[in-house]
């Protein structure tokens, strides 16, 4: 097993889906069954290997980067293929392979129009490589490549299989199809952020000792080499890039459009994994390499995070489209994650990571549900739904369960991230204003009430009451076998993490403590 632990295992987790994509590409278009099985095989193998990695992972040394490798890659710019995982990235790697695998199961009989399983599967598999790769990369250029790899497949996914309804842009009065608008908005927004991020990376390289290696940059004190005048701007550039991806208020407006327009699996992957690339980057790159600036900017981040919580929750209350409501709720949940990170404390960052994982499984499931329901009702307008609990009891029950998880019900996964982020805000890192953070703690807690509000009212509109007359005589198929196979593991994960949070904290805690100590000192 030596080869497995010396980087090959991790590389396989990352690149198996990409190989799978190439294989699927080679299969004739008509042979859909073969394509599906191939994709499932590669995604499944990637998932199984990631679980094996977790089993081989030394939790006693969770703060150390393990199971990775560091080989020359682009020697001209001293960029290496440096990968590895610690307790912070491990849960996210497993999450991404897990969700990808479930997405392929779900897709089995749920192909969005225009039907083209081959292309769709290829895109999912490329996405999988990009996502997992981002979580294991320890070299800025490598990170950047993975970070950008996810962009194009998602762009095509939204643009081709997305929502075909017309949308008119406010003020400019331009009418276009939702999918086109959302795809371009998503692409350009992210690219805009990435440009700044790359800018930051390059400055770090040129001024921070001619290396792209995250560990070296942190260890060499790259921040000191930059000088505080430049470091402020480097942090701002990086943060902007990450914040767009998270997304943080006010850079969030691509999200509701992209999530709403994307096909079901696209929304799931976006919400469950891609949003975490930004928050993960804050933890992995911004804090270790630029600790002082992180601390300087923390109040700004925390304030924006809490504005995001309240703003998104209020926006949710105004939504009439179920999927758009769920999309907006993501902005609020990521607000809690960012609040946790902004406290710069072990508790806060732990909260952030469990928040990411929990949001991944919960909102992933919510988007699956929203997709399956709109597939059956051919509408996402909540005003036209109602009595779903009567028409599709199992679907309704799962929706109710997931909504409860999403509002942070203790005992389910969502609670830990929210509560612990608030807990951390009570005593943020030394040097941060306790008054500010405690105020934010209370405002954030109010956000949980609003979250309960929009979710309960959503359930009332969708699930309760009697079905509308327009559905009389319709036969609705309740949850089918593929949906069950994709959703039950998520439900189990939601309960398991809720009851036994060590599943995540057990990996993260030591790693986070080490990260915080090495960034800010004992």
């Amino acid at each position: 097993m030596e080869w497995f632990e010396s980087g090959w295992g991790l590389s396989l987790v990352v690149f198996l889906p990409l190989i799978g994509a190439l294989v699927v590409l080679a299969i004739p278009k008509a042979e859909e069954e073969t394509q599906k099985w191939t994709a499932l095989l590669f995604a499944g193998a990637s998932f199984v290997l990631s679980v094996l990695l977790a089993l081989r992972f030394d939790f006693g040394e969770a703060g150390t980067l393990q199971l990775g490798t560091n080989v020359d890659w682009i020697t001209a710019i001293n960029s290496n293929f440096h990968i590895g995982i610690d307790g912070i990235s491990l849960p996210l790697v497993v999450l991404s392979t897990f969700i990808t695998f479930l997405s392929i199961i779900y897709s089995w009989e749920h192909w969005p129009e225009p039907h083209n399983p081959k292309a769709f599967l290829v895109l999912i598999l490329i996405l999988a490589t990009g996502m997992a790769g981002t979580f294991v990369a320890l070299d800025l250029i490598l990170f950047f490549v993975f970070f950008e790899v996810v962009l194009l497949p998602m762009y095509f996914m939204i643009g081709i299989w997305g929502d075909r309804n017309e949308v008119t842009l406010p003020v400019f009065n331009i009418t276009t199809q939702m999918r086109l608008y959302a795809a371009i908005k998503f692409f350009l927004f992210t690219l805009f952020g990435s440009a700044f991020m790359l800018l930051g990376f390059l400055v770090l390289y040129f001024k921070g000792g001619r290396t792209f290696d995250m560990l070296e940059l942190a260890a060499n004190g790259a921040e000191g080499m930059l000088g505080s005048g430049l470091a402020v701007w480097v942090f701002a550039a990086l943060a902007l890039g990450f914040a767009v991806k998270v997304p943080m208020f006010p850079f969030h407006t691509w999200l509701p459009d992209a999530h709403t327009a994307a096909p079901t699996v696209g929304s799931v992957l976006l919400a469950a994994i891609m949003l975490k690339l930004g928050t993960y980057a804050f933890v992995r790159i911004a804090i270790p390499i630029l600790p002082e600036q992180s601390q300087n900017w923390a109040p700004v981040i925390a304030i924006l995070a809490v504005i995001g919580i309240i703003y998104a929750s209020l926006a949710c209350l105004a939504q009439t489209d179920m999927k758009r409501l769920i999309a907006f709720s993501s902005v609020g949940h990521m607000g809690f994650v960012m609040l946790g990170i902004a406290t710069m404390t072990p508790i806060g960052i732990n909260a952030a990571i469990i928040g990411m994982v929990a949001h991944g499984v919960i909102t992933g499931l919510l988007f699956f549900l929203a997709g399956s329901m709109s597939h059956r009702y051919h509408t996402r307008e909540m005003a036209r739904l109602g009595g779903n609990q009567k028409l599709m009891p199992i679907m309704g029950a799962i929706l109710g369960f997931t909504a409860m998880a999403s509002l942070g019900l203790p005992g389910l996964a969502g609670f830990w991230g929210e509560f612990m982020a608030l807990l951390a805000a009570f005593s943020p890192a030394a040097g941060l204003s306790t008054t500010l953070f405690r105020t934010l703690m209370v405002i954030g807690a109010v956000g949980t009430v609003l979250a309960a509000g929009y979710l309960l009212w959503m359930l009332q509109k969708v699930n309760f009451g009697d079905p509308k007359d327009e559905w009389a005589g319709h036969e609705f198929h309740d949850v089918d076998i593929f949906e069950k196979m994709a959703w039950v593991p998520l439900i189990i994960a939601i309960i398991a993490i809720g009851v036994f949070p060590r599943i995540v904290f057990g990996a993260t805690n030591d790693a986070v403590i080490k990260l915080v100590t090495s960034a800010f000192g004992g």
């Binding site: 000088g227 430049l230 926006a315 309960l456």
Partner: protein
């Protein structure tokens, strides 16, 4: 209110009397070390009922009743063992560690939790028994018992919690299962709205619970109650951080308690919770859920009682309790719906408990919680039996039922007498103890700056409340059971499965007050006082005859006047009941307009204009910038493209061929220009970087 709060500093009680030392506590042996079964069994059973209930002979009720039987037996066994030899057992197992703080699951077995195990188990058992008859034929019979078991389980998780985290878990489980139960008839919009109302009001108060739990736990550095309370025991000098934040922590926790225990102004959810099936009301408003807030204050009692910590908060507690007991009691007078009468009565009695806690009377507050649970469950079940029989909630459709429903009548009467505080019935002892404690508190409060007058006002409210309670119960009994039948149905006694539990609850409602007969017994005091921490507390060792005479006079007068007014004559009853006192009646009828204030002042604006404004901002402000920038970029792109076309025709064609080879994808997208923007942006980046590097 402000004046009252500034007086708070003087509301510090001397607490030299009573008190239960930590000596002579046993670890409870096997009984206590297996007590984890108490919360775990119902949680597991709830899932078992969902998945297997329909295959059981009694559709899942059998599992539920077995569980509650187990709880009742276990609770009784623990109570007896505790009376024999006080138990304080605390076990926690670490399930994760965050920073340096462990997160733990566990269970606690001490006087306070044993009292609750017993209460939830016994009352729950009778309610579950009854519910089989009441819910017979319900389309979601199995589901009902699953959520009902979850509800009881949530309460037991809460009660068994040895730390803040588990308390919050149980707390929210109770909240969510109450949402399920209140909204059981979810086809009905009123039911689902009432369910949401209950959960949102509770969630709003939970902001207090969360903030309070965070403040208290973080300033001690542990979620464990034992650590927190021992820190309190050490005194302000030993726990300076906790002392510094104790006021805010204690206040915030009490706000959380106000939600579950439906204290003014968070009381609005409770009357609407009557939309749920009657057994739910019986359990929710007697032994579970509404007791959670009082329980929390009891659990954290040393924090509120120890000098240098949150003693000032008790001023808030006593005032809130006094307001609640009086204001909501009045509303009960004008209700026609029999369940609503009981609901407002519950609010009023919860006010008594809270006021007692505020007065520093740990025993009195919990004793009333204890007795109230029995007789209020009994009254709700009796009301349910009547409703089941006459198919109406309204007392204007009832009357004369004592002949047709003898068992329901007799037991309801016992409950009413207990609630009214008629001597020897359970409520008499507990209410009297509260009045005595309030009176005692007056003497302990400083008279210099009005502290004692606050307590005096609350005492007067409490005595008036005794009159009001007896009065509305007399009205309820008369309108329901006396006089002549006014409805259209054919009333009949409920089946045995329903009236047997009534008898089962009537017995404790009659006799359980003897547990604390001043001068004779102090069993209850010893039970709830048997804890690992000292819960210093005043407990009356003999009757306070002045208060006894006041309370008794008020109760008897209230009862007699009530019976006189709503006499047995059908016409008189109807005439008297439709009599409206100007100004006062509309005020009570509209519940002091508080619901309207919340609805029109908070909920509707937030759901309507505020939410829409935010959504508008999203589309018209933020996206205006975004779309504007995008369109501008596109225009620039067009110019560049134009140059491109003219300049390097061949190259562009070649790249077009490449993109074309990418398949139908790009054509479907109708725009191939994205890559060009991308190139532009990257070019700009590189130039910027080059500039920066040269510049610095």
């Amino acid at each position: 209110m402000l004046q009252l709060l500034t007086n708070a500093n003087t509301l510090i009680l001397a607490t030299e009397e009573g008190g239960h030392a930590a000596e002579a506590l046993s670890d409870g042996g096997l009984l206590a070390s297996m007590a984890w079964l108490i919360p775990v069994v119902p949680m597991v059973a709830a899932f078992a009922i969902v998945f297997y209930g329909k295959r059981m002979p009694y559709k899942g009720w059998d599992i539920a009743i077995a569980v509650m039987g187990f709880e009742a037996l276990y609770g009784t066994a623990l109570l007896l063992a505790h009376i024999a030899s006080p138990i304080a057992h605390d076990f926690q197992v670490e399930i994760a560690r965050i920073g340096s703080m462990p997160i733990e699951w566990g269970w606690t077995v001490d006087g306070l939790s044993i009292m609750m195990y017993f209460l939830v188990g016994v009352v729950g058992f009778f309610v579950f028994l009854y519910a089989k008859g009441y819910m017979e034929g319900d389309i979601r019979f199995t589901w009902f018992f699953a959520s009902f078991t979850l509800f009881a389980g949530g309460m037991l998780v809460l009660v068994s919690a040895p730390n803040m985290i588990q308390l919050i878990v149980g707390w929210e489980l109770v909240g969510v299962s109450s949402w399920l139960l209140i909204g059981h008839y979810w086809e009905d919009h009123y039911a689902s709205s009432s369910a949401i109302k209950a959960m949102l009001v509770n969630k709003a108060a939970d902001v207090g619970l969360f903030v309070g739990a965070i403040i208290v736990s973080m300033s001690v550095g542990s979620f464990r109650f034992s650590d927190i309370l021992h820190a309190v025991e050490g005194g302000a000098a030993e726990a300076p951080l906790l002392a510094q934040f104790a006021f805010w922590g204690g206040l915030a926790l009490f706000i959380g308690a106000m939600g579950k225990s439906a204290q003014f102004p968070f009381h609005v959810w409770l009357p609407d919770a009557m939309a749920g099936p009657t057994p739910v009301s019986a359990l929710m408003h007697a032994a579970t859920m509404v007791t959670a807030g009082v329980y929390l204050v009891g659990r954290m009692f040393p924090l509120y009682l120890t000098d240098g910590f949150a003693t000032e908060v008790r001023a808030v507690i006593i005032i809130i309790g006094g307001l609640t007991l009086f204001l909501t009691g009045l509303i009960a007078l004008v209700q026609d719906d029999i369940k609503k009468v009981l609901a407002y009565s519950t609010l009023s009695q919860l006010g008594y408990m809270t006021a007692a806690m505020g007065a520093g009377a740990y025993t009195a507050g919990l004793f009333h919680l204890f007795t109230h649970a029995f007789f209020k469950a009994l009254l709700f079940l009796g009301a349910g039996s009547v409703i089941h029989s006459v198919h109406s909630n309204n007392m204007s459709d009832m009357g004369g039922l004592r002949k047709t429903m003898p068992w329901t009548y007799r037991t309801f009467l016992v409950g009413s007498l207990a609630l009214a505080g008629i001597p020897l019935f359970a409520g008499f002892f507990s209410k009297d103890e509260i009045l005595a404690s309030l009176n005692y508190a007056i003497g302990k409060f400083s008279t210099a700056d009005g502290g004692s007058s606050v307590a005096t006002i609350v005492l007067i409210l409490a005595i008036s409340g005794a009159f009001i309670t007896a009065f509305y119960m007399a009205r309820t009994v008369m309108l329901t059971f006396h006089g002549e039948y006014k409805g259209q149905a054919h009333p009949h006694e409920s089946p045995k499965i329903m009236w047997v539990p009534l008898v089962g609850l009537a017995v404790p409602s009659a006799v359980i007050g003897f547990m604390n007969w001043p001068g004779l017994t102090s069993t209850f005091t010893d039970v709830v006082g048997g804890r690992a921490v000292r819960v210093l507390d005043h407990h009356a060792t003999e009757f306070d005859y002045l208060m006894l005479s006041f309370g008794l006079t008020a109760a008897v007068a209230g009862g007699l006047i009530g019976m006189r007014i709503w006499g047995p004559d059908k016409e008189t009853q109807a005439a008297r009941d439709t009599f409206r006192i100007p100004l006062l009646y509309p005020l009570l009828e509209n519940k002091y307009y508080i619901d309207d204030l919340y609805m029109d002042g908070v909920i509707r604006p937030i759901r309507g204009p505020v939410a829409r404004a935010i959504n508008w901002t999203n589309g018209y402000v933020i996206d205006f910038v975004v779309n504007g920038a995008g369109l501008l970029a596109r225009s620039v792109g067009k110019v560049v493209y134009w140059f491109d076309q003219r300049g390097v025709d061949g190259a562009i064609h070649a790249s077009g061929a490449v993109t074309g080879a990418g398949g139908g994808m790009l054509r479907l997208l109708q725009t191939g220009k994205v890559q060009q923007y991308a190139i532009l942006i990257f070019a700009a980046t590189v130039i910027l970087v080059a500039g920066l590097v040269i510049w610095f």
